[in-house]
């Protein structure tokens, strides 16, 4: 899990961030990115120790994600930058651009700026430092995996808050993804103020409801 980190250190980069994003697919809520910098000595000393349970956030169960999040956010050897864009910014920029923007914001939160970023997925334009894109990076780089876990926990927390404000949709459960329950709620109640209107299923649900109201 440190192959890419070691390569970047060898290339002379000192302050190295792992970057990942969560919430590209959901129909509602923000997209959140996290940039996370490990102290190099700490990462090397603990990769097989304290950090050995860190993996792609999709492979780690929720309770363990929260424990890892707590540990990372309180460690003096870990720095975390968080960036987010809400539903309206996603509608304005489109989701791909919004994802690029939030990754940049997450990196900007770290002072001083990292020398280099390991980014999950495909190359990201417009980042404030040099970067290496790693496909399936959240399972191949410990820094990206840690960022993915923090991003997931942060976004889930936001979705639980939105669930408190718009309880009809079940955001706490599906986190905005297009599950059957979510689609049904969309058809029953129409989009909430935090739905991404630029997303097809949301728009379609709105139209179907308008048409049904016209028939009454």
């Amino acid at each position: 899990m440190l192959e890419f980190e070691r390569q970047a250190w060898k290339d002379g980069h000192k302050r190295l961030a792992g970057v990942d994003e969560v919430g590209r697919g959901p129909l509602a809520g923000p997209v959140v990115a996290v940039a996370l910098v490990f102290g190099r000595e700490f990462l090397e000393a603990e990769a097989e120790g304290l950090l050995s349970e860190i993996d792609d956030s999709k492979k780690v169960p929720q309770s363990k994600r929260e424990a890892i999040y707590k540990f990372l956010s309180s460690s003096p050897h870990v720095e975390i930058g968080i960036g987010s864009a809400d539903h309206s910014e996603i509608d304005r920029l489109n989701i791909a651009n919004a994802t690029y923007v939030v990754m940049g914001r997450a990196l900007q939160q770290l002072a001083p700026l990292p020398d280099h970023a390991l980014v999950d997925g495909l190359p990201v334009p417009g980042l404030p430092c040099s970067s290496t894109a790693i496909v399936q990076g959240d399972g191949r780089s410990l820094s990206i995996a840690a960022a993915s876990i923090v991003a997931k926990v942060v976004r889930d927390g936001i979705m639980r808050q939105l669930d408190g404000i718009y309880p009809r949709y079940g955001f706490a459960k599906h986190k905005g993804y297009g599950t059957k329950q979510h689609m049904k709620a969309l058809l029953d109640y129409g989009p909430s103020p935090v739905h991404r209107m630029s997303f097809r299923p949301v728009r379609d649900a709105g139209r179907i409801i308008e048409r049904m109201e016209g028939m009454e």
């Binding site: 102290g39 000595e41 700490f42 000393a45 603990e46 309180s74 460690s75 003096p76 050897h77």
Partner: protein, 132 residues
């Protein structure tokens, strides 16, 4: 300005030498120059078996001004104590043993065979601090 840069390079070099020496003794190096806030930084944080060790590294070109450890005065012990408490607070005060060590490095960047002296448990936590 040159003096400042020299001092900085010498300090970095000394910290590196000290970390290697501690790693050679089987310590786990957790961090070098661990910054906790604007004014608190710990030269080296390491783990020696079950103990957390906060290390102050003192680098000198030679012994003309006395042994480097003599430079760790009360004032410095106070700031190190404060930094250590910040560190322990960040990790939420788990029940760990901790201690303060000093590593003296006598030499300068490029010198092959620096004199390295490790003083375990060099001083105690400043009494104004309390650790639960």
């Amino acid at each position: 300005m040159k003096r400042v840069a020299d001092t900085d390079a010498s300090g970095l070099w000394g910290e590196d030498i000290a970390a290697r020496m501690l790693a050679g003794k089987g310590y786990k190096i957790l961090g070098i120059r661990v910054r906790l806030d604007a004014r608190d930084e710990i030269d080296i944080v390491a783990r020696d078996e079950e103990s957390l060790v906060f290390v102050e590294v003192k680098t000198r070109k030679n012994e003309a001004y006395g042994r480097p450890a003599a430079a760790v005065k009360r004032e410095k012990q106070h700031t190190l104590s404060r930094a250590a408490v910040r560190y322990l607070k960040r990790i939420k005060f788990p029940a760990v043993n901790f201690r303060f060590d000093i590593v003296e490095v006598i030499g300068s960047p490029g010198c092959d065979n620096p004199d390295v002296n490790h003083i375990e448990n060099a001083f105690n936590l400043d009494r104004i601090y309390f650790v639960p």
